[in-house]
């Protein structure tokens, strides 16, 4: 995959940060607005895909590291199951933070309201864990697919030369 024209690279530079911030916005507001961990994570990963397309595979590897992604992925998964384990005092997956007054523990006002971020107990935590897992997992998939495309191209070229 070669790098594309200067216009595309500059536009990517401009929107890259905004896409990532929008993705994280969807992740942390998962319990209030449409979307959630998976959707937000996919949005964040689309920023990586844009970078890969505009800058080419070799340049992207300087910024995005598969090893770090795979570490983040495992951290997200462990966080998800860890939060589920914390509820084990009552039952597995028990929402022990809801309405407790501490983190994410405000009581939800029934009816139309402004939308309090500080509600819903463990749901935001789980959304964050899923978001972490999804954006790093999709990031790995995108990078590996670029690697695979490069590998096939090299192989085809070698066969044509023969």
């Amino acid at each position: 995959m070669r790098e594309m024209s200067k216009i595309i690279r500059n536009v990517t530079n401009l929107v890259y940060g905004f896409i990532i911030i929008f993705g994280f916005y969807i992740i942390v507001h998962g319990h209030l607005t449409p979307g959630g961990g998976f959707q937000g994570g996919a949005v964040v990963a689309s920023a990586f895909a844009a970078m890969l397309i505009s800058y080419g595979q070799l340049n992207t590897k300087k910024f995005l590291n598969i090893n770090i992604f795979s570490l983040l992925e495992s951290c997200g998964l462990t966080m998800f199951i860890g939060v589920a384990f914390l509820g084990l005092g009552t039952t597995f997956f028990y929402n022990f933070l809801a309405n407790s007054g501490s983190w994410f523990g405000n009581i939800v006002i029934p009816g139309i309201n402004a939308g309090d971020m500080n509600t819903a107990g463990v749901l935001p935590l789980m959304n964050i864990a899923v978001g972490l897992e999804v954006f790093s997992g999709l990031g790995i998939i995108v990078l590996l697919m670029a690697d695979g495309a490069e590998y096939t191209k090299k192989k085809e070229k070698a066969e044509n030369d023969r």
């Binding site: 795979s70 570490l71 495992s74 199951i81 384990f85 005092g89 039952t91 597995f92 997956f93 028990y94």
Partner: protein, 521 residues
């Protein structure tokens, strides 16, 4: 906090947590990941045995996620359950015991089998995920949750089938085939779940069972579920993925895949018996399952005889043995609406079929492990290239003889016990079926005599001068399975009375299953 109350979920949660921790630990030290996975699976084996003792002495157990109490199935005075729950009766825990044992031994065997590979952390991570999903399929009381676990099982097994590497080609082809098959079956299961949800507005199996009417839509859903789950179990008209997947996967994974296809088989039985029970036309559906079984038995074994690849041959035998289970349980289903025939021979036929599930997991696992041991030392699966290996691998030879005798149904081993139950009871239903089953058994013996002769007997071959016995952890896994086979063969009465009979009764008595969730409805 009393952890003892949480055993149903801890059986899954401990391997799941380990599966997610292993990639992190693998960054530091790859060698410890195998030991960690083995420990997690050992812990879950112990917890499964504890839970089995509880289920068999006290009765079916439920575990509701995220509720104030794990036993509260109907919160806030509702008439139907809204939360995801595990519902473990004698049949579920029977399958759970198989899964726990097989996956633990698979992990132990892998310790030596995969010593020098660099992707070992992802291998163990996926192995744990596969185990968790099998437990989930067997324990869950929720139809949509079953679909989720089915998908996890498919994804984990596809990656494990391809584990030997993308450069070899054949494992990837087998993995791709399995991916297509399992994606189709998972989507069709989702479609059937959608039908139930649209019709009855519930997803809980017990809640559906209490309202199911066997309308036209229910018939469609039943047809879809039985056919795609039979496809995942490897019954004959849909068996094309089995030989490829079983022969290309690493040997311990093949053993676990056998148990995974049995989890799909369990799902067929659960849906037919616990969900529909006598609302459906038992004779017609019973005969469909019997015919699936007959085809699997006969075509599986005739295809097996001509194979030259040792693992492919065993894979076709796995199809053939699946037929016995379908035959036994199918006869039980065909006479379900007829209490006299059910008491006379139906329950015995089902006991034979269900007992055969466990026996098959044990001896087929052992046989695949011996095939893996041969591959480990000789580097080939081709029977024509092997020979005289009994001179070098004494333990493996003995284990192979035990496994082969058990699958052929020779008297002191466990295959005989379950096959005899099937022969006797099926003969009363229809003598022809029993005769076909016996012929298949003889053909099985013939093909394993061939394998034994061409792999183990004969003079010492010069190219195998370096071959020696396999490492200790592999011998340990095979020895445990052999001991279980001999124990089951010597005391079948003990197992049938304490494990298999409660499992069969929990399938037949629908009210026992629905009652644990919905109260005494």
């Amino acid at each position: 906090m009393n952890l003892f109350n949480h055993t149903p979920i801890l059986i899954l949660a401990v391997p799941l947590l380990t599966a997610f921790l292993i990639p992190i630990i693998g960054k530091i030290n790859k060698k410890t990941t195998g030991i960690l996975a083995t420990l997690a699976l050992g812990l879950s084996l112990i917890m499964t045995i504890v839970l089995a003792a509880k289920v068999l002495s006290v009765g079916p157990q439920v575990y509701v996620f995220g509720e104030k109490s794990s036993l509260l199935t109907l919160p806030s005075g509702l008439k139907f359950p809204i939360r995801i729950m595990f519902q473990i009766d004698a049949m579920g825990i029977f399958m759970g015991l198989i899964t726990a044992l097989v996956s633990f031994l698979g992990a132990v065997y892998s310790l030596a089998f995969l010593d020098n590979k660099d992707k070992i952390d992802s291998y163990y991570s996926l192995l744990l995920l596969l185990t968790v999903s099998m437990f989930g399929m067997e324990f869950t009381g929720d139809l949509f949750n079953f679909f989720v676990f089915l998908e996890i099982a498919s994804m984990a097994s596809v990656s494990l089938i391809c584990y030997r590497g993308a450069d070899l080609g054949e494992p990837v082809e087998a993995g791709f085939k399995y991916m297509v098959v399992s994606s189709i079956s998972a989507l069709m299961v989702l479609f059937a779940v959608g039908i139930f949800y649209g019709e009855y507005d519930v997803l809980n199996i017990a809640a559906i069972a209490s309202v199911v009417k066997y309308s036209q839509l229910d018939k469609i859903a039943l047809g879809i579920l039985v056919s795609v789950l039979a496809m995942k179990a490897g019954a004959v008209p849909m068996h094309m993925w089995t030989p490829d997947a079983y022969s290309e996967a690493p040997a311990p994974i093949t053993m676990i895949l056998v148990a995974a296809s049995q989890a799909s088989l369990y799902a067929i039985f659960r849906i037919v018996f616990s969900m529909y029970n006598i609302t459906l036309n038992t004779l017609a559906v019973g005969w469909i399952i019997i015919i699936l079984g007959l085809l699997s038995m006969f075509i599986g074994v005739t295809m097996a005889i001509i194979q030259k690849d040792i693992k492919r041959l065993m894979a076709y035998h796995a199809i053939s043995q699946t037929g016995y289970m379908l035959l036994g349980v199918g006869v039980g289903l065909a006479v379900l609406a007829n209490p006299e025939a059910l008491k006379d021979y139906g329950i015995t036929a089902m006991e034979g079929g269900i007992f055969h599930i466990m026996n098959h997991a044990m001896y087929k696992g052992l046989l695949f492990l011996t095939a893996g041991a041969l591959f480990f030392r000789t580097g080939t699966r081709d029977l024509n290239k092997m020979g005289g290996l009994a001179h070098y691998m004494k333990y493996t030879t003995i284990f192979f003889i035990i496994g082969a005798a058990a699958i052929a149904g020779l008297p002191p081993f466990n295959g005989f016990a379950s096959k005899l139950l099937i022969y006797e009871s099926v003969y009363k239903f229809n003598p022809l079926l029993s005769i076909i089953a016996m012929v298949v058994s003889i053909l099985t013996l013939a093909s394993f005599v061939k394998v034994f002769h061409s792999a183990f007997l004969g003079p010492k071959l010069p190219q195998f001068k370096e071959v020696k016995e396999v490492p200790r952890s592999m011998v340990f896994a095979m020895a445990v399975l052999s001991c279980i086979i001999i124990f089951f063969g010597l005391f079948p009465d003990l197992i049938v009375k304490n494990l298999v009979h409660p499992a069969v009764m929990s399938l037949i008595e629908q009210l026992q299953y629905t009652g644990t969730v919905l109260g005494g409805m």
